[in-house]
Symmetry: D4
Subunit: 248 residues, 8 copies
């Protein structure tokens, strides 16, 4: 039932087909959104190319395939995160354009390639073992209609690698910065640009890295003021946030 | 605006005084509760003797007094928590019946003494230094219209003191159990009764008690299944929860 | 030996069949409960339909089966938690009415369907991955003789789903609220009802969810005062506590 | 020395006034930025109305005053954070337009009122004790040239207050969401809007709130994907990040 | 009422002065200990010279004095812990033999000097800042009737100081080992003796000592098997445990 | 080289067979213990029936067997901890008297059954899942020459079970108290006896038990003063400490 | 492009082959190091015998082999850490001199045996289960051109073993000290020498050792002032740091 | 007693003035160091200009003054850490050359200015609030006879400031790197030099910096391999370690 239907309710009363008391009663049982509350219009987002997403862990290939098949009916683009080769093969049977990204386990089906982001989303990462999380962010950002670029393996202990790529950094409209261990990269990057930097700690490291806590704390305590942080290993979330910013 | 007024809206349409489109527009700007959503009727609670509450820390005696004076206009009973003698004196100027409880710092104004709880709320505490939190629970529970009783200084290292009071324990309908240090009391109490036991860890202790964390963890891991836990030192919250249960 | 037997002891002394000194000696060696202490009458609980329970992890299917077989002799209803299909099949050989709930791994044998709870216990959960814990709570509450209902997948980031079900919420006498990640659901639910809300944090989530600690802390710090908390993933414990409240 | 001067270096070589070897040597000792590296042009930011900022704690009123006096020479707008009445009085002697915000301790000198943000930055907060942090965010965002609005005291345990203000929420371009205790507000707000939500945990609460850790963890684990987080009590940082986004 | 009185109860029944049913009823209301349960006979302990103890923090000098005065009526020896000079002066008015130990704040009144311990309790400590806790242990152990000795400032970074005192170490029957910082001393000491070593972590240190947690963990993980641990700064508890062992 | 040999060194000098300077040089290279330092005489302990011990995890059955075979040459009693059936079978080939305890994985070879402990070491445990750790303590204590007894499944939520066994408790000279979850048992037990109680937290539990931390903290914060604590799951260490106390 | 090429740039301008403006533009796109910044000359290090290193976990034997083969082209010495027998066999096919160290999993290819360290690097370890980490440090230090020695199984609970080796300790120029459990060894060792001691906590231990945190905290809080610490289990890092010191 | 005296012992035996048995007995009671064990010769260190040190907190100005006066008799250089102006004034009465450093509270008396370090110890710090710890390191290193230099306020968010000082960095023989907040500076610095870097986390920061833990974890997880770490705020310890390295 839509607001159109609420209008009809009033019209029915106007035309004497419905008593006011009955109308009030029907109104009380209307779903939330029909009453004009701020329910996010997910269909609008989907029409703009925002993908629907499946989190694969804990589901059989068959279950993932079924969910994806349903999603493809209403959404041109679909993303599966943390999947594997078997799932990808199963999906390609009915969606041959599905691309599997082996490091992150992401599967992207992109049938609508309209760009919605206004600038480039740059994904920067520190060590080679941070790449799976960085790749998840990159694939997600691209599927959400952003021009994307990446800059990998530019950890702070070899600061020259980062500085050699200063043009990529300043060219980006939004930066996603992925790092494990001490999580220092976002602070350095944020000091080199005037763009918002979304920091993603990774669970990479051993000993006192505590599964990403060291990196998380480092990023929360960044001495740069254009840094905000998402959860450990949450490349997907960083890309969602970046997309929302990049559409402004 | 109330549902009565929504009815009038429909009647206005019915009588041709308002166009349906205008009515929909007015409806969209109605406050949440007028549309029949589940907003808790705080006034009903107040009519039943539930007190309004002020948390005193960070407020001047004058500020607390002003708030209390306002509350007394709409609520017969008022509770101030974590206050002190100065605040109590200030309040007694216009509310001479206010009672100050020095251990917990609670100030209770009880003008409506109707009982709403169906049984006794018993407050049990372990050590003498847990009494401030226990007293906060006791005063709150009483002000909320519960018959109350207490049993203090029955720590588990002297189990006989607890067992000597077995009749009080079994007579209670709801038990609030306050303990610091190892937080073992709720497990022992819960094993002796068939009533729900609400456990309150206190920040009493030193060294590895970590401001109440040891007690909190002990209570969460209770081997008794009729124990639920509230936050550290939260005597007030335990009494609220107990009152809600005791009115069932 | 029961209090009846203590009476006989006095009668024996009365009739000169026993010397006072001997009687005192026998008394000193009586078990605890015979002396009138508050020992919970588990048999009474069982007669009222409270199930006996087996925690399956670490036991072979054969061991679980043997324990269940013993329990069925004295208790009409039996619950096995955290089991699997193999154990369920083994139990159905001698208890064909046993129902296996695959998400939670609970096995319920319910031969006595008397209702003991006075109202509905509603189990509310946030995300689809919280359902195993929610199901454990639901199955347990039902087996303990409560009318039950559930409301799943009503996480706070889509608040309209919760509000669309406002009638279920207000109809419940006791609410069990299961949530992982940020654990915010109990606060929102508690603000919509006047019933006690028992919060169960789940270990769902990744990164900084720390196996349920984030949700646990969120619930302990709830700004609503009708919330109490049980241990992480403890759907069983929440249902026990809810049952005890619902019988009041 | 600027790039202009590097040009002159080459011209000097071109004109035979300098030997190539000498030029290389001079080049090696040039400051970093002159060589074309990505050094953030702070002066450009200042020209656009970005304020310079002093963190007051640990400095005497005299010291703060001296620093502010210096800053006012090169920057039209200056912000002092975590100050007090005494410092404000000292500053007003030479900067009478300085406005002191007593809850947050912020002092704002705003001589350039150009708007740089493209939409409204809305500051939402949960409880009344979160207001100091919210105010710091609000004052900072305004001084950075953003149209601002605020919505206070809309905690999740009274969800209707939030929903009654649905128009303010959807009107904002960027939202800063400040909450202590369980930190659930950002998740609920983010589910109601399509804008980026910057979450600020506050150290408000007691017991197991652990000085804001409970709220921080809640926000990092938000089930909404348009949420990013800054450090505990960091209203200033949230406003900086929001400003950077709002200028995109 | 004592077991003597239970005997009289039976005799009353025997002599027909009391009906069995009445006797059972009286029995049910007897205190715990009268029924022969294991209640620790504190008076026996006191007769053997175990002191009664007052924990001074949070009490006024007057309150402490009153409690001590009461204790002196039933106990020859009294200990006040964590007190100060003012309290000591107040107590000396009526108990001139009270000795104040300024480092630990302990006040000892020792009117019964009988030795109950069978060997020497040696208190060993690492750094000079551990001495307050060591002194509390020493004073307590002495007041409990143990021959005592101490060995201070023998931290592991100067292992020769410890080895130079090897005779004191091997002469002790029970050792209390007090250390902050890395808490390594108990492991080294325990490797040099065949006596039980009671380890007391202190909150001495800064940075990552976390108020004694580093020392506590070090002691719990001791590679020596004759070490057991008490709470941080708990010199009193260590002496109690040592006394109980030394009386065996 | 023994002190006997140092004596010979002096005699050689006395008899002119060695120059003083040479003697000093030889002395400087003597091993530590020969110089009279407090090196624990392990052989003396072994002669008294203290077993040698192998920690099995990380070793092949063959490796464990070889080590045990070596130990049997110099020690009548040998203990293997955390082993399994395969290792036990391998050892029984050459030590047919080896007894395997399946719950704890302990293998005990006891060829010398002399009693060295002066009283009974009682092992008390809370839940059935604590028994592996309790069994390790029991087997170890017995092998070290202590008369032992045990009291299992006497958790604090059913306090009557503990009280029904009050005679066992008061008969023990040293008590080892094993408990997981909230770790409350040692406090209750210690309040019932005048013996030293050695508390062993176990890693039993789930959710917020944190692998035994909850129990560990509970025990460290015990309100009873005759409790000392060893590491989580360290049944072996508790038995060593108890043995050392029981030989005093 | 090298500084030589910058010189040519100036010469081209000098000779009129290039316009100053063009030269500036080329300069702006030069890589970082060419402009004279402090980029570490890794080739120089390699020429001095510093090995290149592969961290094996997460890579297939084939992948490790390929990387090693590449490294051998530019570096005489190559180290693989945390590998296994299969990887070692695969590498020996083309590098028969590769030595596999089974405890640490290190594979060392050492074709250049020049010594670069000026004294001996001594690796000291506490328990036998610390040896894998100690071996990683030893192999790494040797491959980096240091004379090495080791002293294993000298835990602090048997202090004589350490003291018996006092000559090895004082002979070392740099000491790496590896210990798990309470992590006390570095403090004791550092007190016996005037050399820098690099402490490596290991994840050895159980219960409250928390995967090495207890040892880490112990070492950070060392009462000796010649101790610095690296990450848990980081034998490789300790050897790198030691090598850098030993070349001074 | 020295080894000279041991020689005399043998000579006495040689000359028949002492019986071998008596000599052995005297030997057994000799202090540790006389027997040739590795006792650090502190006097040798002092002769080389190593200062004696007093930690001022918890001592009265008079107490500090007395200790310093004693130290000056045997040591040319004396350091007082964490002192204040009052203590400095008190010391200057008898040691007019004492220099007070107000930021760190260090007081340095330097009467012997011999240089013992072979190169420069450079102290680098991130933010202005890290300077107190950096100053403590600088003053200590200088007093220990090292040529020193410092480079303050070169935090990683403004990487150009660090790079502009590349010559200072490469000129240092040992670097002490002080940083709070995210603790990223040591990683960046270590990547720019071939010298050992000693990292000092500071307790600077708020919110999730947790009194320096964030910085500590960042440093322990540094991706650079020439970094070792000391305790939070331990500028003194870092300088001691650096001095020991710089004398190699």
């Amino acid at each position: 039932m839509t607001q159109q239907q609420i209008l009809k309710l009033f019209e029915a009363v106007q035309h004497g087909k419905l008593q006011p008391r009955e109308a009030v009663e029907r109104l009380k049982h209307l779903p939330f959104e029909d009453l004009g509350f701020a329910k996010l219009d997910h269909h609008r987002l989907l029409r703009q190319g925002m993908p629907e997403t499946v989190y694969a862990p804990g589901k059989t290939p068959e279950q993932v395939a079924q969910i994806v098949r349903q999603m493809l009916k209403r959404s041109p683009n679909v993303l599966v995160t943390r999947a594997n080769r078997v799932i990808a093969a199963r999906i390609r049977r009915f969606a041959p354009s599905a691309v599997f990204h082996p490091l992150s386990g992401a599967i992207a089906i992109r049938r609508d390639r309209t760009l919605h982001g206004k600038g480039t989303v740059l994904v920067v990462s520190a060590g080679s073992s941070d790449i799976p999380v960085a790749e998840e962010a990159l694939v997600t950002a691209e599927l959400m209609g952003n021009p994307v670029a990446h800059l990998y393996d530019v950890g702070v202990a070899g600061i020259h690698r980062l500085l050699d790529n200063r043009e990529s950094l300043t060219a980006a409209r939004v930066i996603i910065c992925v790092a494990g261990m001490e999580g220092a990269l976002p602070s350095v990057v944020a000091g080199l640009v005037a763009a918002p930097v979304i920091a993603v700690p990774t669970s990479v490291g051993y000993g006192a890295s505590f599964g990403g806590i060291a990196a998380l704390l480092g990023m929360l305590n960044s001495c740069a003021s254009n840094v905000a942080v998402v959860n450990i290993d949450n490349g997907f979330g960083a890309a969602c946030f970046a997309s929302m910013v990049n559409r402004l």
